[in-house]
Each structure stands twice: as structure tokens, then as C-alpha cells.
């Protein structure tokens, strides 16, 4: 995984509750066997009319936010289907940081595995950042310092478990790290099967 780098960008304000992963990527974009080429489907029904013409009023078509790498979200963002395609689509669209009051468990985990930082903040702070984004202010996200700084100089700090932070900053590979414990896993499996012989597999 790519190490996480600090991000400085305007943030896209997207205050909608319970945005589910079907909305983030409709299922017809799931018929791929790759992790790329999905960005086109990102929030499709919010960006395009049924006939394929763009919904001009959509925040995702505003030139101001065209190069945004930060997405400000409503509560329970990413609920529903476990599809990692939702995260791949966000990544393809250039988002590196998501900031909101809450993220669905599987979605947050999928983000983390793909090097995308999710920042959970209290509602008043998210609203403050939404206002800044609407006003067109840029913000900088610094993971080492665990700080978001707006162009106005407002500094908001956020929590993240230390290990998770290191993992993102170093761009570690989870599978390789787990395989450092491969002997323990094998021993565990063997012992488990001895105790629970009915769980055997041939």
C-alpha cells in the first residue's frame, strides 16, 4: 500500500445521512474483476440524470471542488453492502481523506486497507468544516500531527489509534505482517482441529 501523505485541498461538502455503498457505487459497476475503472460509477445517480446527462447542480460537478481530495460526509456514511468497490471508486476520484461524524464499520475498514484516512469528529466540528468548504476555503490534513487546519487558521485535532496511524503513514502490507505469525496460526489451527475434530476439512 502507498504510504499516506499529508493532504491540502478544498473539501467537497456532502451532507447527506446514511449514504449507502449502493449509492456510492451502483451494483452494475460491480461486474468487474478489477479494482480500477469503477470511478465512473461513483455516486452516479447524484451526478447524472437517467439519460446520462450531468446533473449540473450536483456538488460533484462544481468546478470549485473538481480537484478535491477531501470529502466531508453526513452521519453513517458507507452503510450497507460490504463492497470495497465503493472505496476503490472514491480513491479513483482522488479522495484521500473522508471526514464525518460516523462511518459504517466495514466501510471504514475498507478505507483503511486502501490507505484512505477516515476522520471521525463531533457534529459541530464537521458542520464548521462544511461551512468552510462551502465558503471555498482549503484545508490541510496532517496525519502525523493529527490535525486539520483550515485556510482561516482554525486548527482541529482528531483521534486515531497509534498503530493505525503508523500503518497508514508507512503504507504497510497487512498480509505480510500477519504472515510473520504464520507458525502460530498453523499451531492454532492444528490444536483447534484436535479439540474439535468435527470441524475437519480434507
Amino acid at each position: 500500500m502507498e504510504p499516506f501523505k499529508n493532504v491540502s485541498s478544498i473539501a467537497t461538502p456532502f451532507q447527506q445521512a446514511n449514504v449507502d455503498t449502493d449509492l456510492i457505487v451502483p451494483s452494475r459497476y460491480l461486474k468487474t474483476i478489477k479494482t480500477t475503472g469503477i470511478g465512473e460509477g461513483l455516486l452516479y445517480t447524484l451526478r447524472f440524470h437517467e439519460d446520462g446527462s450531468p446533473i449540473k447542480s450536483s456538488v460533484f460537478h462544481q468546478p470549485l471542488y473538481a480537484n478535491s481530495a477531501i470529502l466531508l460526509t453526513g452521519p453513517n456514511f458507507g452503510c450497507g453492502s460490504s463492497r470495497e468497490h465503493a472505496v476503490w471508486a472514491l480513491r479513483e476520484a482522488g479522495y484521500k481523506v473522508l471526514i464525518g461524524t460516523s462511518f459504517a464499520d466495514i466501510f471504514a475498514s475498507n478505507c483503511y486497507k486502501n490507505g484512505i484516512l477516515t476522520v471521525t469528529l463531533p457534529e459541530d466540528l464537521v458542520n464548521e468544516l462544511m461551512c468552510a468548504a462551502v465558503a471555498g476555503l482549503e484545508m490541510a490534513v496532517n496525519l502525523e500531527k493529527q490535525e486539520i487546519t483550515t485556510d482561516e487558521g482554525r486548527v482541529i485535532s482528531f483521534d486515531i489509534p497509534l498503530a493505525r496511524k503508523d500503518y497508514l503513514l508507512q503504507g504497510l502490507d497487512e498480509i505480510s505482517l500477519t504472515l510473520q505469525s504464520v507458525d502460530n496460526i498453523k499451531a492454532y489451527q492444528e490444536e483447534r482441529l484436535q479439540h474439535l475434530p468435527w470441524q475437519s476439512f480434507d
Binding site: Q15, S27, G74
Partner: protein, 477 residues
Amino acid sequence: MPLTTNAKPQPATLYDKIWQQHVVDMHASGGSIIYIDQHFIHDVTSPQAFDMLSARGLPVFSPGSTLAVPDHNVPTTARELPIKDALSKQQIDVLKSNARANNITLFDLDDVRNGIVHVVGPEQGITQPGMTIVCGDSHTSTHGAFGALAFGIGTSEVAHTLATQTLVLHKSKNMKVTVNGTLPDHLSAKDIALAIIGKIGAGGGTGYVIEYCGETISALSMEGRMTLCNMSIEAGARAGMIAPDNKTFAYLKGRPSAPDAKKWDAALAYWGYFKSDCEAVFDKEITLDASEIVAMATWGTSPEQVIPVTGRVPNPYDFDDIVKKDAALKALEYMGLKAGQKLSDATLDRVFIGSCTNARIEDMRAAAKVLKGRKISSTIVQALAVPGSGLVKKQAEDEGLDVIFTDAGFEWREPGCSMCLGMNPDRVGPEERCASTSNRNFEGRQGPGARTHLLSPALAAAAAVAGHLIDVKELGE
């Protein structure tokens, strides 16, 4: 030793106990390495995971702990014909070749055991108490009905499980949902699930694993328990679970992958450990009175937007919470409904009885009971009955249920995810309204522009007859 069951240092919940038994090691990233007993894979979320293994030159760690079942892309008609949609066919072909290349058992489309993976696992007796079970599919929570810790994962985690037979996890919090009292006639686990989600919200369970307790839960059949645990993810919970009891054990006995007679007693002794200690502490507790639950249906585009089926669509301006108000305004527009109108006033176009929530034999029986001797409304364009597996289909046919469905005007289909999501040919058209026994009423879930009302199989059958949403009780002779 992780497998001792008599050490009892601290009162523990069912979830705590399964967790403790499966910790293999600590991971460098700060999480715990948790051993996974059973991994299910399907056509949509596994192809990229196998690529992730190839990219690292890694084999599948424990093929025997893995079962492959194509379900999402599968057409529910004429199984012997080649799949027309090239992309659907490709995903299924890739699943097959990955299974073959890695020695993973596959229940292919011509196998009577094929079906929706969350129906198949329990039906085969693969799903057992005390296990950890994962699948790249959020409704893996279904398997929690057996007192297993079962939850959905993303594709990177599918790859991690394939490569290591473990996952790196941080422990969730414990939530207890207690339901006591007698559930009124005609109601089912689906109504309980919708009532709970209506109460705690679609994000109410985020960060938690839910354990369902109480006399109403004990009284549910295994099918009902699966429906309830299935919907846990719609409340935002990572998993839902129910402590195993005699019903659980009776359901398992004699199934192909369940312990055989020689090992049965040892298995029973082990499974008995998996219940929350009386003194166990939960981080959050919710209580419902089953006698107050009524027949439920959703009106909006989130499962939390749910009301009694006989009720009126709420007025968005009655919500104090501004985000909820906005969500309601959007939902009403999308659903083509007006604040204050009776839910039963809207005319339905389609009815879908199926999905991993409600496509087991009991669900088919409940719907058939309502449909027997009745016809669906002439205004219904299509009514589908889609059994959850080949074996459910066979059982239903043995009981003559297929005839009741077809006599009433339903199409009796081959098993698969079908109209639950718009990936296979079964879809709801733009602005069409569908009464559905599935689990998600999200925008576009059943097809672009589709309007979904979630409800129980009995209510879906009643809706098909009336041509609009209706309580079974109000259906005339």
C-alpha cells in the same frame, strides 16, 4: 490455551467468548489476529482478492475452510442456458476457475446445493455455534443465528482470509437487544427486525455486535432467527448473534457438514459454552415488547424509515433532526410518496419474495399460506417467488408450494439473489414500486430508480393480492 472452555476469569458475553477463543496473536498494527473457521466466497467480491494473492505469490492457506457459491449474478430462469450477460458470466467463470485452481469446494449452478450463500451454509450444517465465519458480503451476519460470530468483510479482507485464514480485527462493543412477550399472529422475525431498526436507527448498531435475547427470540424458529440476524447489518451492527439452544442443535443434527453421531456429544458439550454469562456486562441495552410490535413496512430509502403497514407516511417537517428531515424529504421525492398519505394508497408494480433475508422454507410457507386460493391483483406486472437454494426449492415443491404460487400468478424461479440487487436480469424498473422481502430499500438497489418497500413474506403475499400494501389481517376472503 485458546480452546479451554472451563476457565472463567471474568463474566463474558457470547461475543467475548468467541473472540477470546479465536485470538491467535497480536498484529504489528495493533489489532488482534483472529482465526477464521469458515470462509464463504461468491462471484462479486472475490475475483480481485485472488489477484491480490497472485500479486504476492501466495497460495490459499486453508482451502478446506473455504466454500465457493455463485449467487449474485445468477439468472433465475433456464439454468441450462449460457448466461447472456457477458460480465456476469465472466464473474461466475472467474469464481469457478479460482476455486478449481485452489482446491476450493464449489457448489456450481447445476448443483442442487447451490443458492444464496447465506442460505446454503446453515442448510448444509457448515454454520455452527462458536465459529468465526466471514464472507465478502455484509449479510454474513445471518449465520450469527447459530451462535457464531459471523460478519461481512471487504475484498482486501477476503484476500487476507484466503492468505492467512485469519483477520486483523479490533474488538467491537457489546449490545444486547432483548425482546420479551408474545409476538402477535401473522407477524414474523422480519417485523421484529424492522421494529428494532426503526427504534435504534440505521446507524444505531455501528461499532457494536448485537446479541438478541429474550423469550420472543427463543420462541423464533431457526429460520426466523436467521432473518433477524441477517438484518443486524441494516442497523449498522458488525454482527448479530443468538446463543445456541436445543432448537439450534436440533436444526443441525443430521445435516451433511454437522458433526456425525460419533462426535455429536463432544460437539454438544463444546457448543453449550457459547452463551453470555448472567453477570456479563453489555455496553448498551435495548428492550422491546413483542406484543406491541405490528406489521411493518418501509416508506423511504433507508431501513430505518419504517412504519406500521397500516400507517401514514410521516411529514419530514415533524423530524427535529435536520439531517433526518432532509433525508425524509429526499426519500419522499424518490419514492413518489406524499407526507401524510396512507402507505396502502400507493399502487404496486412488482412483488419479490426471496433474498437471504426471507427465502427459506418457512418464508415460502408463510407466503403460500396467504396466497392459497387467492390470485394476485391484475395491476401487478410481475410477482416473483425465488427460493434461497436448490434444496429449499425442492422442499417447497415436495410440499406443493410452487403450485400455490403459480396458481396465484407468481413466477416460481430458480434460486439466487435475484431482485434483491440489480446485478442479474431480475430488476425493478425506474419509478416502479416493489413490495420486497429483501433487506435494502436503498435508492437504485433493485434497479435504477426502483422504489422498494421492505416487508415480511406474509405481507408481500398480501400486497400481491391487494395490489397495494396491506396488513394480512385486512385481506378479505
